[in-house]
């Protein structure tokens, strides 16, 4: 699998993502600077975590207008898979490549802690190697992860398998305590209509090494590599 990780000036988890992709695919991803207007031919485009432009104005708002995003949009429209994690998810919603918006956490505080995710749709190229209902514990670290979509959009997401992951407790149930940021319906990640674009707030790339205190993020990357190789 050939992949590219887009680097915005305030990206700060791009190397975490590079390490996870390299571990899963055996190939080093290309790093592409946000001011570039060209992208190499790749099987997967990744927007990593960070504070692309300081999160000033709104998280991801300025990055969504970066030169490179025109090309990302063009590729996404051609069906090239795009993964956005944390700030990457925020950028994808700001770029309207994913539905909804990510607002300030309901606690109004940054939150960095392990969360448990439940796989909601395992019929996609990103999640095909996982099982529906499968749980994975990975860290989250964000200030603006409170997923919002209006009722119609939520219903459409629900009806079409658009919800990728939900925050759940140890028993696999959605609860207020297990929801770290106040997201509507405990939504942690969503797909676009064609299930070729995935955004999620938590960081599977920070759970791929026993030294991270957990390796449950590996399965996601392994599955993506399997689907795209």
């Amino acid at each position: 699998m050939r992949s590219a990780v887009i680097v915005f000036p305030g990206s700060n988890r791009e190397m975490d993502m590079v390490a996870a992709l390299e571990q899963a695919s055996g190939r080093k991803p290309a790093l592409v600077w946000h001011k570039d207007s060209e992208l190499p031919e790749v099987d997967l485009i990744v927007l990593p975590g960070g504070f692309s432009h300081g999160d000033y104005l709104r998280a991801g708002a300025m990055a969504a207008n970066s030169p490179v995003m025109n090309e990302v949009r063009r590729r996404a429209e051609k069906g090239v898979p795009v993964l956005g994690v944390c700030n990457g998810f925020q950028i994808l919603t700001e770029a309207r490549l994913l539905p909804g918006a990510l607002m300030r956490n309901a606690s109004l505080r940054f939150v960095c802690r392990n969360v448990t995710l439940r796989v909601e749709n395992a019929q996609t190229l990103f999640t095909g190697a996982l099982e529906a209902g499968q749980r994975m514990t990975v860290p989250c670290a964000h200030m603006d992860g409170n997923y919002f979509a209006d009722d119609d959009t939520l219903k459409r997401l629900e009806d079409t398998g658009g919800v990728a992951f939900r925050y759940v407790d140890a028993a696999g149930e959605t609860t207020d305590e297990a929801n770290p940021n106040g997201s509507r319906d405990s939504i942690a990640g969503v797909f676009n209509e064609t299930k070729t674009v995935l955004g999620l707030m938590p960081h599977p790339e920070d759970a791929v090494d026993p030294l991270h205190g957990g390796t449950e993020g590996r399965a996601l990357f392994a599955g993506i590599v399997k689907a795209l190789s």
Partner: protein
């Protein structure tokens, strides 16, 4: 031209005799710009005039030291061609005035000190002291400071891996915010601040200059007009996004050969950075202040020289490298301006649209910086506490109260606001004895890591400054040993009251004496530091707080034990001698409402032996969990290990026929005494651990084992881990939930 009156001199913080020296050095009356420069260069902050004579007595060298105090940060050799660059610095007063921005810019400043020397920052730590939880401002200050630290560090993308927080009424009017950064650099590519090469360009990069934090707020306000207050915000505002760009741009430029010298613009901004670079290099400098990138209109040379706008750096480049450097900074959308050049005159010449706005001799000003040997008095060491005279209490009830008390309650509410995982190398998360990160880019097969901690027990320092100074170093080193790291070096942040009072000066002198002894005994030289004096409000000083930041090298990160009990059936072994020191203990304060007695004495040789033993045992893979014993003593440590692992344990106090000292110790003293030099280990091989301890001459005893869902104390009963966790995890969220209501 403003006339320099005695009032203006006084408003610049210069004593009449110091101003006489100014006149002598200048050979004439200074103008306002020049006076401002003298003022900041001779300020306590820049000159260390009260502490210098005592700081010189600290050990600062060792085979591991590449660069000791005097540069932006200390540099220590890690082997494998790598160096750690680190320092701790206070931002106390600004954080009290505006907690979010004060703390945020504190983090920004310490990051710059570290990457200025060529290091990529890899971890942040902080040591915070707040007033009493009941004080009406405490919640607001705590909430703002934590949000500010997180807001800056999270955005820049450096994990905040460890810290400590205390509450005490002595900090009601003067909170302490001490921030530490550790960075990593190639050992052969360290950047220093000494300028060299007459004619070389002096370059300004980073953010534009505004009227942030210009000192002497009241001075010569006539000169600036009546709207001057509004024009000159005293609170600096941090821009972590620009800092992130500045880090990347500087490191990119540092990979070339363009830089001769580099210095961040911290306190006193352009003045101290340009002055220090020229002074260290023995050269002169000429600056054209009208070329400085400005954020606001109508700024004067005085304001430009004294602005403390953040996220700015000053560099001297090799000739002809300006365009290379400009390209890099423009790529990162940062300002870049050649604002002057080095000269051979030995003078600083400031030009403003072609006219000379100031001219000062560099060496005489730097060398004549005042240095005081202030009078001091040693405090009378308090009498030891008679633990046998304390009332008897149910130890498990006492434990529950202690783990839920403000100084011992879980800090999860705080550290979950810090991104402690970014960069993907965090091995030990906050809440452990020390933060540990894996070193990146090591040769195949190497699994080295770096551990860091911040420590100080101010109540010990107040009761007995010498023992308190020793203890701060000893505890910092103990926290490193406990995670399997060999202590390498320390940085200190000396927070004290008014040094012009002999009793306060005595605290400083005593703490430094104790620190020096401990640094020598534990082979942990001081390589950088910061002094914050005059932390007083209405004559009431803070507790003496010489915060220690320490780093240590981990040989194998896979062997780092956490504090959490990992499984049932492990033996608990107590390392070190227990005498039952309850003087100045948290048990005494929280249960008996008494802050008295002598603090636990620190036996430095015993401390070293116990630490080396623990390090060896961890290296041999015999330690499944390890925790140092400090605040709250043995029972609190055992409870913390149980809560971290969500697994119980049983403990047996020493029987009457056990060793003499322990048997005579009252139960509360054995359980809650804060004797130094101790660790609690969980091990599958107690016999081997005890044998190793005997061999090393370190007292050790098997005192219990892991298992079950409760903490059981033979003869005293049992308390569930869940109940302990409720008390421990509950206090801070409940306390902070009242924030909005209290504001």
């Amino acid at each position: 031209m403003t006339e320099i009156t005695p009032e203006i001199v006084a408003e610049h913080g210069l004593k009449p005799e110091e101003y006489d020296k100014v006149l002598e050095i200048m050979g004439r009356e200074p103008n306002l710009v020049e006076l401002g420069i003298f003022s900041v260069m001779w300020s306590e902050h820049c000159s260390y005039k009260s502490s210098k004579v005592w700081l010189k007595k600290l050990p600062t060298t060792g085979p591991q030291v590449i660069c000791g105090p005097g540069e932006n940060a200390g540099v220590v050799d890690l082997g494998d061609g790598l160096a750690a660059i680190f320092k701790i610095e206070s931002h106390n007063h600004p954080s009290f005035i505006e907690p979010y921005q004060g703390a945020a810019t504190g983090v920004g400043g310490i990051l710059r000190d570290v990457f200025t020397m060529g290091a990529r920052p890899i971890m942040n730590l902080n040591a915070l002291r707040f007033g009493s939880p009941e004080h009406p401002k405490t919640r607001h200050l705590l909430s703002g400071v934590v949000a500010g630290i997180g807001g800056y560090g999270n955005c820049v993308g450096i994990p905040t891996v460890a810290g400590e927080v205390n509450f005490h009424p002595a900090y009601d009017g003067n909170i302490l915010v001490n921030a530490m950064t550790v960075g990593l650099a190639p050992a052969d590519r360290i950047f220093y601040s000494a300028a060299a090469g007459a004619g070389n360009p002096v370059v300004y990069v980073g953010s534009k200059t505004g009227r942030d934090g210009i000192h002497g707020a009241t001075m010569a306000s006539a000169e600036f007009g009546e709207d001057s207050e509004e024009k000159r915000p005293t609170v600096q505002v941090g821009d972590p996004f620009t800092e992130k760009l500045l880090i990347e741009a500087c490191l990119e430029l540092m990979a070339t050969d363009a830089i001769v010298a580099i210095q961040d613009m911290g306190a006193a901004g352009l003045t101290s950075s340009s002055f220090e670079m020229a002074s260290k290099g023995g050269v002169g400098v000429e600056l054209e202040l009208d070329r400085v990138p400005l954020r606001e209109e109508g700024m004067t040379p005085y304001e430009i020289m004294l602005s403390e706008s953040q996220e700015r750096m000053l560099m001297v480049l090799k000739p002809g490298r300006e365009e290379l450097a400009r390209g890099i900074f423009e790529k990162w959308d940062l300002d870049f301006a050649v604002i002057g050049r080095l000269t051979e005159t030995g003078k600083m010449v400031l030009k403003w649209h072609g006219e000379v706005a100031g001219e000062l001799p560099i060496d005489p000003l730097a060398l004549a910086s005042p240095e005081y040997e202030r009078p001091w008095t040693a405090s009378e060491p308090p009498a030891p506490l008679d633990a046998a005279a304390l009332p008897e209490r149910d130890p498990l009830e006492a434990l529950e109260r202690l783990v839920g008390s403000p100084d011992l309650a879980s800090r999860r509410w705080i550290w979950e606001q810090y991104d402690h995982l970014v960069m993907g190398n965090t091995v030990l998360r906050p809440g452990a004895d020390a933060g540990v990160v894996r070193l990146p880019d090591l040769p195949e097969g190497s699994r080295k890591g770096l551990a860091a901690t911040v420590d100080c027990t101010p109540r010990y320092c107040l009761a007995d400054p010498v023992q308190g100074g020793r203890q701060a170093i000893a505890e910092a080193c103990r926290n490193l040993y406990a995670v399997g790291a060999r202590p390498l070096a320390v940085t200190n942040n000396l927070n004290f009251g008014n040094p012009e009072k002999p009793a306060i000066m005595g605290q400083l002198v005593g703490c430094l004496q104790g620190m020096g002894e401990a640094c020598r005994a534990l082979d942990a030289p001081v390589v950088s530091g910061n002094v914050s004096l005059y932390n007083e409000t209405e004559g009431r000083a803070i507790l003496p707080t010489p915060t220690i930041g320490a780093i240590g090298l981990v040989e194998d990160v896979a062997r780092v034990p956490g504090a959490a009990f990992p499984e049932a059936g492990l033996s608990l072994v107590l390392i070190g001698e227990t005498r039952g020191a309850l003087g100045q203990s948290l048990y005494l304060r929280e249960l008996e409402s008494r802050e008295e007695g002598a603090p636990p004495p620190v036996d430095l040789e015993a401390e070293r032996l116990a630490g080396e033993l623990v390090l060896a045992l961890i290296g041999e893979g015999r330690v499944a969990a390890c925790h140092d014993l400090s605040d709250g003593g043995l029972l609190v440590a055992a409870a913390e290990m149980a809560m971290a692992g969500n697994l119980g344990c049983s403990l047996e106090p020493p029987a009457q026929d056990a060793d003499q000292a322990a048997a005579k110790t009252p139960l509360a003293a054995w359980l809650f005494g804060e004797d130094q030099g101790r660790y609690l280990l969980a091990t599958a091989d107690a016999e081997a651990v005890l044998a190793a301890a005997r061999g090393a001459g370190v007292p050790a005893a098997r005192i219990g084992e892991t298992g079950g869902d409760a903490l059981t104390l033979a003869g005293a009963g049992t308390i569930s881990v869940a109940r302990l966790r409720r008390a421990h995890e509950g206090w801070m969220p409940a306390y902070m939930a009242a924030e909005l209501a209290a504001d």
